[in-house]
Symmetry: C2
Subunit: 279 residues, 2 copies
């Protein structure tokens, strides 16, 4: 099956406005872009996303993937972004079965953190199996955090965005495969999911990194992509922890520089031996 | 008209789990609560919110207020939270006109940052008028930031939450009236909106503080509550800036300790004279 036809229409990431600081100085200040993007599937309006617009095509695909409206990239024939009308048109090869009905269901279940289809996601948790034959070494984690720190980001320039990365997990170190930032934390995850489909990347041995908090939805989406390693700079919620524990995902929070907290899925984590442990 | 009958059913804010840190130490670690809360209006299911559960009654009321499903607190007869079924039942005095139809409309417009009814909110922006006879003094801003810094928060204990505060704006200083934290940024804003209705607080001269980013939706919700001063510890987006500029709200970002950036609505801000300015 051929890959979908795509536009390539990112938006400028930052804009400059004047601001007055506490010293009375007028400072040109970079701020992050934010654009409405209305998603149409086979000419039916599905949702309006507010996005930075870094990877609108991958975002549209990943949104449909994570909402389980499309089950394979093969179902998508074309993704066309048009910023003149702030829209993205997805054309499927054979239509989406029961789209109208499923949009109706969304009405009442929308709103995980006022954010997504919660009921549907939870139903899937029980059936997720992550690979148990993969390991993450502490030094690989440190190598990832180092790569993240040196990555050029919109966050450094303008703040107000969340970042997500998909990274490899090799004994020699970790390499960032995709890095997406967005004004919405869920958009960044969805765009990565879309990119994985487009580039045919298997999540089974990868590391997912996010600057955002590990809420229930973040854990579920990561597991849905079959990724066994979830790393965040931030903290987590009780429900995120509960679900991670149940799925057995290896979840690490507060990961900055040489610090981290390993919360769940300890069996996949390999710690570098230290003098105090050898004593 | 009498106030609605309310339960008072907050959930414990934090839970403790074990985590392994980089030193190989097992640390009992506080994490933020996260609970699904399904909102019913006159027995019709409306939405499931993922919440910390600090102020579930105010959250339900504020959600209905900010989604424009209810136009006055007088329309609400009772709000009953039941954590055994993770639900909150709102009973209105006369029903919500066209609820079914409006929930249908939500389907296609849901998703400002995958978060709310975008189309409806934008339509209202044009009609918002904020008070022009109020001022915010720089020293009052500093007094607010000081009060925020000293406030006991779940964030300090467990992270992974956003905080919002409604504060007074007096020449002698600023006092926090309500402080709400939640795992969802929008929930915290909505809970404040609900609290304002419950306590009959007029926003016209108040300050709204948030730890979160100033996206379009945050600016619109603040303006809808008639609050002319919006202060954030974080940055802002282009669309947040555009809307703030159009409404003429006084918006301040990066506000921490004695630092801030004044972005829009400069006419309401009174800077303390400094030697360099007097020279």
């Amino acid at each position: 099956m051929s890959k979908p036809t795509l536009t390539h229409a990112p938006r400028p990431a930052t804009f400059t406005v004047d601001a007055l600081n506490e010293k009375g100085e007028m400072l040109p200040t970079a701020i992050a872009g934010e654009h409405p993007l209305t998603l149409y599937v086979d000419k039916r309006e599905v949702v309006t996303l507010m996005t930075l617009g870094q990877a609108p095509e991958a975002l549209a695909i990943g949104y449909l993937r994570n909402q389980r409206l499309v089950r394979s990239i093969d179902e998508i024939a074309a993704v066309q972004v048009d910023w003149e009308t702030d829209s993205v048109a997805v054309t499927t090869r054979k239509g989406v079965k029961g789209l109208a009905k499923r949009m109706g269901k969304r009405t009442v279940t929308t709103g995980c953190g006022q954010g997504t289809v919660f009921g549907d996601l939870m139903e899937e948790v029980g059936s997720i199996r992550l690979r148990e034959d993969v390991r993450l070494a502490e030094e690989t984690l440190y190598s990832l955090l180092d790569a993240i720190r040196h990555h050029e980001t919109i966050y450094k320039a303008a703040g107000a965005v969340h970042g997500c990365a998909l990274a490899t997990n090799q004994p020699g170190g970790s390499e960032i495969l995709t890095f997406v930032e967005d004004v919405g934390r869920h958009n960044a995850v969805d765009a990565i999911a879309g990119q994985m489909w487009l580039e045919d990347i298997d999540g089974g041995d990868k590391i997912f990194y996010t600057t955002g908090r590990l809420t229930s939805e973040m854990v579920i989406k990561c597991a849905q992509m079959s990724i066994p390693f979830l790393v965040s700079r931030s903290g987590l919620t009780q429900m995120g922890w509960n679900i991670a524990n149940r799925i057995g995902i290896t979840m690490i929070g507060r990961a900055v520089n040489k610090h981290y907290l390993l919360f769940t899925g300890w069996q996949r984590f390999v710690k570098t031996a230290m003098p105090t442990m050898l004593a």
